[in-house]
Amino acid sequence: MTLDAKIEAILFFKNEPTDIKDLANILDTSLERVHFALSDLEKKLEGRGLTLVHYENAVMLGTAKEGSELIEKIKKEELSRELGKAGLETLAIILYKGPIARATIDYIRGVNSSFILRSLMIRGLVDRVQNPNDSRGYLYKPTLELLSFMGLSKLEDLPEFNTMKEQVEKFTRDAMAEDQP
């Protein structure tokens, strides 16, 4: 069995976002080889019914977005599409600029974002991790579920992703040089 086939089996079994480090551990191989195998798997899944969703160190298996209408037909629970203005703005900031500190989100939006962040986390759309530059602070980032909801295999598939990331980074570098990690 090839490494990419093994990874496919593991992701199928686990059915949740899986850390690439865990994959390397279970498979007793290097991170580098896992990365290579993942891109092999990605190629092999082209035109198939399944797809990989990949962000930073996490990866999961899901149905191809071309099949979404079909799956929607047999899905029992109705998907909640309601996001509201605050939710849309906050998700846009996190998707195009994440991982990002709450202070920066507040600064960009001009309002306190703690409650909208909390509700996005409860919905499993946003996740937070310890800020490596500030032990008391967190960085907010998109979850693989958010990417899946948007039919994105990876963040780079977002429209205008590359141009925007540069713009936002340039701005925050200029404006927040003093208080940003």
């Binding site: 199928f12 059915n15 949740e16 797809t51 969703v53 999961m60 298996l61 899901g62 149905t63 191809a64 977005k65 071309e66 979404s68 209408e69 799956i71 929607e72 899905k75 998907l79 599409r81 996001l83 203005k85 605050a86 849309l88 703005e89 998700l91 846009a92 900031i93 998707l95 195009y96 600064y107 960009i108 939006r109 001009g110 309002v111 306190n112 703690s114 409650f115 909208i116 909390r118 509700s119 579920e145 990417l147 899946s148 909801f149 948007m150 039919g151 994105l152 295999s153 977002l158 429209p159 205008e160 925007m164 713009q167 936002v168 701005f171 200029d174 404006a175």
Partner: protein, 250 residues
């Protein structure tokens, strides 16, 4: 969660409001257009500042956000009217930043259109969870009464708390009208005074927001033709004189 909503009227926050006002006038985002919507911004804010908190979704800390942006707007407008106006480096940065922030915020709003378009439209689905799975009792050494108590304590400690902004302080700072009334009275009484005397003798705390709010009051009075202001040289105090003592109108 409605009591936590951040809204003054239909707007999410000060930047949202500013953007709405600029778009309504079909202007481009710049310091010039910001000075053109300052009055609208203040007028809009005034409708809400006297509402009890909780009504129309206003919250005190959020009002403070609105007022802070108002103070920068006033600076921008004053600067455009009184070119000799002295501003500190920090204030200059705030003024320049506001237009930049607004442009970025505008961009984010455009991008949030993509989110709206894509969200839930062609979802990548995970496997449905099987309802029949075998479970094996597999505890771990961490599960002790002590650790479980520690865990529930940490849960309780991290429950979100309601805002604890001291209401009295913010109410004092943000009462725009009060400052204007006060200023009018003082102008009538002393006929001629200096801006720094006003902020010093005022019973408000002499913090930055307050000075700026007072300044706004002064500008309003100039606009209404009630007083005249003079500044001898840059960084100097501003002299205020009443033009029409009998008719302070608002």
């Amino acid at each position: 969660m409605d009591d936590f909503a951040i809204k003054v009227g239909e707007f999410e926050g000060p930047l949202d409001l500013l953007l709405g006002l600029i778009e309504r006038k079909k202007l481009h985002i710049s310091e010039v257009s910001l000075s053109q919507v300052t009055d609208d911004y203040i007028a809009y804010l005034k409708q809400f500042e006297n509402l009890p908190t909780g009504q129309a979704g206003t919250s005190l800390s959020n009002m403070a956000n609105f007022i802070l942006v108002a103070s920068t707007l006033i600076l921008i407008k004053s600067y455009s009217l009184i070119s000799s106006l002295a501003v500190t480096e920090e204030e200059k940065e705030d003024m320049e930043d506001l237009a930049k922030r607004l442009k970025l915020y505008h961009r984010i709003k455009e991008l949030s259109g993509h989110i709206k378009e894509l969200f839930g439209q062609s979802t990548i689905f995970a496997k449905e969870n099987s309802n029949h799975f075998e479970s094996v009792f597999a505890p771990s050494g961490e599960i002790t009464r002590k650790n479980i108590l520690g865990a529930i304590r940490s849960v309780v400690d991290n429950l979100p708390k309601k805002e604890t902004v001291p209401e009295a302080i913010i109410k004092k700072v943000i009462s725009l009208e009060e400052v204007i009334d006060d200023l009018t009275k003082r102008i009538q009484q002393s006929f001629k005074m200096r801006f720094s005397d006003y902020t010093k003798s005022s019973n408000h705390r002499e913090d930055r927001v307050n000075i700026i709010v007072s300044f706004l009051g002064m500008l309003e009075l100039i606009k209404q033709g009630i007083i005249e202001a003079k500044q001898e040289y840059i960084f100097a105090d501003i002299d205020m004189e009443s033009k029409n003592i009998a008719l302070p109108r608002y």
